[in-house]
Symmetry: C2
Subunit: 187 residues, 2 copies
DNA sequence: CCTACCGATCGGTAGG
DNA sequence: CCTACCGATCGGTAGG
């Protein structure tokens, strides 16, 4: 197990490790884990074939480092999705369904204020989705993805019934999980 | 290039090739193309390591055979999605939006007839999604996937404007393609 | 479809 | 972080 490289120097510190993680992420996405060799990764950052093992004990530890970078954004999306389902279906909150379906009846003056709130909410989603897209976990255009995902969730107001009904015996946790499964391209 | 095996026999004909394709599909899904060896595939159907090359010139031809089996269902979904967007937004057809949003105003008697039509339509989607799910191209539960995908498309009635507007400068072909990209886990 | 095998590549290591 | 290298595995082939 290697300790820190050079002790005291003014030159670039050890972003070499970060370089490896970033390049590995790109190559794993392009060619898959097994399709990418340590040699590919090493040469892409200007190292020789054996050198990455100075930073990582083996290839799988490199994969772990890559995946750990992707987890925060995925977890954030999971929470956004779950929360939105919750707003829609939990505790008989009728506010959102009304907003979704009787939106047109609102005078322009009030509409503007609602739009402002909605824009702020959308921005949170967009940041998360942009990040996931950059990491290759979201295959569609991030902006359209936001519209489609929120559309899918919002439309559940049409068919989801929390307690009653037949085949809809799905909890909100499960529903959120399935939405993520549908939409997130995790390897 | 091999010709047909045995000439005239009553025993099982050459489903050996089909066996290879089916098993390869499963293993490629589980472990990826590069993570699956010809030896894995051969042994899984009770052959020795070199024998698959009697049926396929090389490993990539096996991959091609697997993918060709997945294409029909994916293409069918692509058409369903594109057609549904078309119904929603093309040629100023207001029928579907009205049905989506003023559904409640319909007396039960008429509702039943509409439901019957809708059930038939849903069944077409369901068959396609079931198939894609079985092939690992759809990661969510197939029934929920149908609800979510149709939800995402239907909700576009809320934000998509064919000709006017600013950022929505997306054609229906592009929109359909992005929906597929979001939802289908193609390698 | 099997036996026996080859050349190439890959993950990983020793020693500096 | 480099040089030099090893053992194992893999895709593919010859000959039957």
């Amino acid at each position: 197990m290697p300790a820190k490289p050079r002790a005291a120097s003014s030159a670039p510190p050890d972003n070499r490790r970060a370089d490896l993680v970033r390049v590995a992420a790109r190559l794993f996405r392009e060619k898959g884990f097994d399709g990418t060799t340590i040699r590919d990764i090493a040469h892409a950052v200007g190292m020789r074939s054996g050198s990455p093992f100075y930073h990582f004990a083996n290839k799988h530890e490199l994969l772990m480092a890559v995946m750990e970078e992707g987890l925060p954004a995925a977890e954030r999306l999971r929470r956004l999705v779950r929360t939105h389902y919750g707003i829609l279906h939990d505790t008989g909150s009728d506010f959102i369904p009304v907003m979704l379906y009787d939106w047109r009846s609102l005078p322009a003056q009030y509409k503007r204020r609602i739009i402002e709130l909605k824009d702020r909410y959308d921005a949170i989603w967009q940041r998360t989705l942009d990040e996931l897209h950059a990491q290759g976990l979201l295959r569609a255009d991030a902006k359209l993805a936001r519209l489609m995902i929120l559309g899918a969730i919002n439309f559940s107001a049409t068919w989801y019934r929390a307690k009653s009904r037949s085949a809809n015996r799905v909890g909100l946790d499960e529903l959120a999980a399935q939405t993520i499964a549908l939409v997130l391209h995790t390897p």
